[in-house]
Subunit: 360 residues, 2 copies
């Protein structure tokens, strides 16, 4: 493997001084890019795109060709694990993901097993290897998975939902069944992320998209406990470098203190949380990643530059910040505005730093 030329992301995640605040964008390879839409068209479907390593590699690299981003994130989907478990992932146009065979009865739950990533998820590992080769050390590659709880939400509900009524009914009426699913998911996510790391992922991110639908005590019991178990089982050193782990719970702004003690290196912060407050809460325990409102990318470039500076100022001086959106980029995002944000983060954060890297 070639040596890493831009390691600002890894250094920021380790809370070491960096010349500028590194930036990448959740779902940076996505529908706002015409070249992405063209490749997806060629693939025939979203799933075919995700399951064809050469095409997944192609779209992973597309945003890096346009913008000087400090990381690549593997193009994939958070639902590859339940798909590999046999639940039958489908994407219905305009509706989001859906499972043909959601987990609804005790026998199916008893039968549930963690897939072997080297077999059923091999296409993901092949994509990781292909992206690493293509990156040739320019920036680090982030691998990822859905959290055990977020996977369970989709697996039980069968699709996204406003209230996750089926999942919540199980949670309150038959918590034993949900815990059984979560145990299997925790093993599956651990194996999956370790396989990505062994294939070349240099950072591991856990997306807990639905953890925010829980109560405070429910979050501890049904989401964080299993994320903690995953993180404890991850390979944290590879190719002679630490492999940092980022945990992102959308709507988790109220639980940052306990999240910061789960063993991760950084927390993803959604846009409703004030970064100044978040930093006070987590102290120097973890780095923070976030948290521009994705809707800012619908505004003119000058407005977005101002909002990007506001995020940088809210984090304040010192190391430990990775700039990102507070949630995934939307298809309606303006490419010019994305360009302006990436540029502003780079120049403004570099300008604010003193020549000597002795940031407090």
């Amino acid at each position: 493997m070639k040596e890493l030329q831009n390691d600002t992301l890894l250094r920021a995640l380790a809370r070491e001084p960096v010349p500028h605040t590194p930036i990448w964008l959740m779902r940076q390879a996505g529908r706002y890019l015409p070249e992405y839409n063209a490749t997806r068209e060629r693939a025939g479907s979203f799933l075919a795109l995700a399951k064809t390593p050469a095409l997944a590699c192609e779209v992973t690299l597309q945003p890096l060709a346009r913008f000087p981003l400090d990381a690549a994130i593997l193009f994939s989907d958070i639902l590859t694990i339940p798909d590999a478990m046999g639940l039958g992932l489908q994407f219905v146009a305009g509706e989001g993901p859906r499972f043909e065979r959601p987990l609804r009865d005790e026998q199916a739950i008893a039968r549930l097993g963690a897939p072997d990533p080297g077999a059923e998820l091999r296409y993901v590992l092949d994509a990781v290897r292909e992206v690493r080769r293509a990156l040739a050390g320019r920036v680090p590659l982030i691998g990822f998975s859905g959290s055990p709880y977020t996977l369970a939400c989709y697996m039980v509900e069968g699709a996204g939902s406003d209230d996750f009524r089926t999942l919540k009914t199980m949670l309150y009426a038959r918590p034993d069944l949900l815990h059984r699913i979560l145990e299997v998911n925790a093993r599956a996510v651990t194996d999956y992320l370790n396989a990505q790391i062994e294939a070349g992922a240099q950072v591991a991110m856990i997306f807990d998209t639905w953890g925010g639908n829980l109560s405070a005590s429910g979050y501890e019991e049904f989401s964080l406990a299993y994320a903690r178990r995953v993180i404890a089982g991850l390979k944290r050193e590879n190719e002679g470098r630490r492999v940092p782990v980022i945990l992102f719970t959308k709507g988790g702004g109220g639980w940052l203190e306990s999240m910061a003690r789960c063993g991760c290196d950084a927390l993803g912060i959604d846009w409703s949380t004030d970064l100044t407050q978040a930093r006070k809460q987590v102290g120097d325990r973890v780095a923070l990643q976030g948290n521009l409102d994705p809707a800012v990318l619908l505004a003119p470039p000058q407005v977005a530059r101002r909002e990007a500076r506001r995020v940088l100022d809210a984090y304040g001086s010192g190391s430990g910040h990775v700039f990102n959106l507070g949630h995934g980029i939307t298809p309606a995002a303006s490419i010019d505005t994305v360009q302006a944000v990436v540029d502003e983060v780079r120049t403004y954060s570099a300008k604010r730093r003193t020549p000597a890297p002795q940031n407090a």
Copy 2:
């Protein structure tokens, strides 16, 4: 007006000692009740039900006939104000509210004016008067309105949304236009709530359903600033008693400290926020209302009793707590479980209290 027989809600909102924790449920008059569905059927539509004072009064009282709740809340909709402004409120089956003429151009925004509640919203005031007569002092009546920001979300977007893309584009690209709408809305909400108070509402609640889609600084500028303006303009004394104001921002758990300084008497707390933490943040500034996960009402009664005790224990001893859900009741709620929660809150909270009302 008859004297109030059960004033536990008003006393809890004033953080005075009460013999038991008062309880009411957001959307307690709703689709989980067969008698509600029967009345709605008779009315022909949701809007006809809301606009016919006799029927609105009937459904307002229905939950009180089943459960020993400590308050009535007027049956109405948060979108009556924009409807009275001429935007054309419609309810499409299975889709939620929709406006025929959303606010999309500068001229329409310039023309926007606050309605006269005594004229265009008279049906609401008539319903308030009718409910007060029918209640005959049993429990207090809560009046309500959407917050200026939440109304603006619907008015600009035209309907509910996952990302409120149109609203957010205006917010970032043309904040002047949004501020103009919010100013009109703040006047309209103030007039509307004052008219409800004069008609007999004994508590005023502001529902900021969509405030949680803002960033921390955006919440201050676009939502809280206008809620504060409304609250400053409210009549806070009527029939010789204080009229308390409750502000509820769904997803506002990160902003409780500033919310507690907005002039309200109580904050509604959604179920993702831990009540112990919330109480620490607001100190003795305001009472707290909440925050059972509405999905608990899908579970068996015994489970719901345990979860209700968990909420009471999280608040802890002392006055200033109004039990409620963390969001509106869902149509799938089990009536037996609602009954169990109401019973558990009453008996468990009474048992925990010492005979002398010297709660710390």
